[in-house]
Symmetry: none
Subunit: 415 residues, 2 copies
């Protein structure tokens, strides 16, 4: 038994989007241990979809389609598949009711074209879409051919895959070995440095250890192949412990942990609170804290002091210091942090002031220069970062926000 | 004449990497106006590469391969192609000399396996690789089949494409037309509704009009095929105008425009300023405004009033109203907007208060309920949104921030 991924969409053929769906499904199939030898991409065109189906049915038994399930006339996947297997489309009453209800709940009129999304081939099962209006299908139109269809919207596809497709595939006896992975996450250490420190572990065979870097963060993925999840964990756990010992405080969490969630948990444990004063990040630090549900327990808010007058009026920054040292300086970062801590009456105040670019840099204060202030219960410090070398505005802002949270994380650990 | 992209590499089938090469080549083919209807991905395996070749030769005339040109035993692309066309491999003296020299210049010993990279099928031409050791080939093994091969390393592939493949393709008389596209962007109208309103235009042949949706925004891509860019624009412009007329204020910009950049330009033109008061978005609205370089001209800052006490202390929200109506209410949204406008002394104050979830929803105030306040020079209004039906926390927050900017955009247009 082998699977084939078939992505449908003219936008892929025009190079407008990256085929992230193919990568997601490929990883998922690898994790399930389902062999997968071919991927195809084809446009929203019935004869060409038929061409791909002819080829795929001759070499693969599980055909996984993404894309082309929307309401518009160029969404042709369901129709093309039904035609290929000479099966009529039928309106599914449950799906229609579900779509109608979803539109009603949003208080939006349902266009007649949305009705098309309730059509599935006679004999096919619905693959429910909890995140959107277009469901997919699970269909065995002939022996040795199983078809799964998904919309192209990644978050809808992921939810449908996890909630329905994986249990279905397992129920068919496919995907019996388990590849279980744990991702260890690090901040404040370059990928090459970490890779060197753990280099003997990178040659292990089971579990394997592979480094990834992205978005300023470094990750190590530990993957073990075993008959059960607990057997896989027995292989992973000692290796993970070794790595954490080597990495020290640069290790901040695993799997779904984020800097904000981990640091938030430290604040909760210490029954402490934090507020923010932001200049170049313009709200991005507060936004990052509040990605964590329940963050209101320790994150109280802050002041976005993008304009200098706001730094003075709402945070109490000394206008003479502003004038003399400039907004991007140790002194202003410290006054912002103290100002927000005192005005919001929190344990900690974090501030960010910097040059995010692309314009506004000078020789003395180049793009990428950022000061982060950390005011504690009775201390205040500031830290200078230079992120700019090849970085863009949004990445500098992102690194600034993450670094501010990371600084507090290290303070809380040392506390 | 049509092209097919064939990417070879087991790492693609394992989902270890995104297929960025396919996107690059697809964009390049679109820009050259070379039709391209299929893409395939296959592993480093000779029989399966032959399977893909059989299919591709029957439906496409230009086959573009990436990957599998390296020195290791699993790099099989050249060998597989030569075998398929029953042609012997020959060692190319020039290539061998080039590889030998590249290793010498880097002061590295050349492994015997690198010698393999000098083999090409008899009768094929070398496609030189100025950035790496593995060259590709240009080969017409039979009438109506042209093969180009590239290594999988993106920067090597890009250089080879630009420097050799494009001139070759043009010399064959391919790639004479230009496909030029314009993307029109909309907010506040569902994809299906917009598609119905412009439905006659969706059947045009040149230019074509195709709808896309994502992240709460709807886009229409108008693509024209013509001999020159200006001829393409002549085809696009009247269709774009028709669409803008139909869409009215739901149209907000084109190509790289964003809600924040367009609304920022309106503020600049009116010499007006804006500040924000944010509860559930936690800073995301300010962050969005400040994605635009130069936004300090009109965005002055704001208050992140995540905790209710901050709404009272820093924004002047009446604690009794907070108690009676709750933080998520029309009244509090309006008081937050007025409070921030007055304290920051800006023309406009925008506020957001809502239930972003996943917890904290009640029957009366479910997850996804968001109030947006808009305080103008001497007015204040609030708007109720219900985003929650199948949405996640981060998406509700994103929609809230975008909707706030969109509300101000409409006010400024009407002004």
């Amino acid at each position: 038994m082998s699977a084939e991924i078939i992505c449908i969409g003219t936008e892929l053929l025009l190079g407008e989007i990256l085929n992230a769906n193919a990568q997601y499904l490929a990883q998922q199939l690898a994790d399930l241990g389902i062999p997968h030898y071919y991927q195809s991409v084809v446009g929203d065109n019935i004869p060409r979809i038929h061409q791909v189906l002819t080829v795929a049915c001759a070499r693969s038994q599980l055909l996984i389609f993404t894309g082309g399930l929307g309401p518009t006339p160029d969404d042709l996947t369901t129709e093309a598949i039904a035609q290929f297997f000479q099966t009529p489309l039928e309106e599914n009453a449950e799906v229609l009711a579900d779509i109608t209800e979803k539109f009603a709940r949003r208080g939006r009129p349902m266009a007649p074209s949305n009705r098309k999304q309730a059509l599935i081939p006679a004999g096919a099962n619905v693959l429910p879409n909890p995140r959107g209006s277009a469901p997919g299908m699970i269909w065995q139109p002939r022996p040795n051919v199983t078809i799964l269809t998904f919309p192209g919207v990644p978050k809808e596809m992921h939810a449908m895959w996890q909630e329905t497709a994986v249990p279905f595939l397992r129920s068919q006896g496919w995907g019996k070995t388990t590849i279980y992975s744990q991702v260890l996450r690090f901040w404040g250490i370059p990928e090459s440095t970490l890779a060197e420190k753990v280099s003997p572990l990178l040659n292990l065979e089971n579990p394997t250890v592979a480094p990834y870097a992205g978005n300023g963060e470094v990750r190590l993925r530990i993957s073990a192949k075993a008959a059960t999840e607990s057997a896989a964990l027995d292989l992973i756990t000692p290796v993970a412990q070794q790595i954490r010992d080597i990495a020290g405080d640069n290790y901040f969490g695993q799997d779904d942990d984020t800097l904000a969630s981990v640091t938030g948990n430290l604040l909760k444990a210490a029954q402490q609170t934090v507020s923010v004063a932001e200049s170049c990040t313009g709200g991005g630090l507060g936004q990052l804290w509040t990605t964590v549900p329940g963050s209101s327990a320790y994150f109280w808010g802050g002041v976005i002091s993008y304009d200098n007058q706001v730094k003075v009026n709402l945070l109490g920054v000394n206008p003479e210091d502003l004038q003399r040292e400039g907004a991007v300086s140790d002194g202003v970062a410290q006054q912002m942090a103290v100002g927000v801590r005192d005005r919001l009456n929190t344990t900690w105040g974090l501030s960010i002031t910097g040059v995010a670019g692309p314009d506004g840099g000078t020789e003395a204060k180049p793009v990428g220069l950022v000061y982060i202030g950390v005011a504690g219960p009775d201390t205040v410090e500031s830290f200078r970062f230079l992120f700019g070398v090849f970085q863009e505005r949004e990445f500098i802002r992102w690194l600034s926000a993450c670094s501010a949270i990371d600084l507090l994380r290290r303070k809380l650990i040392a506390q």
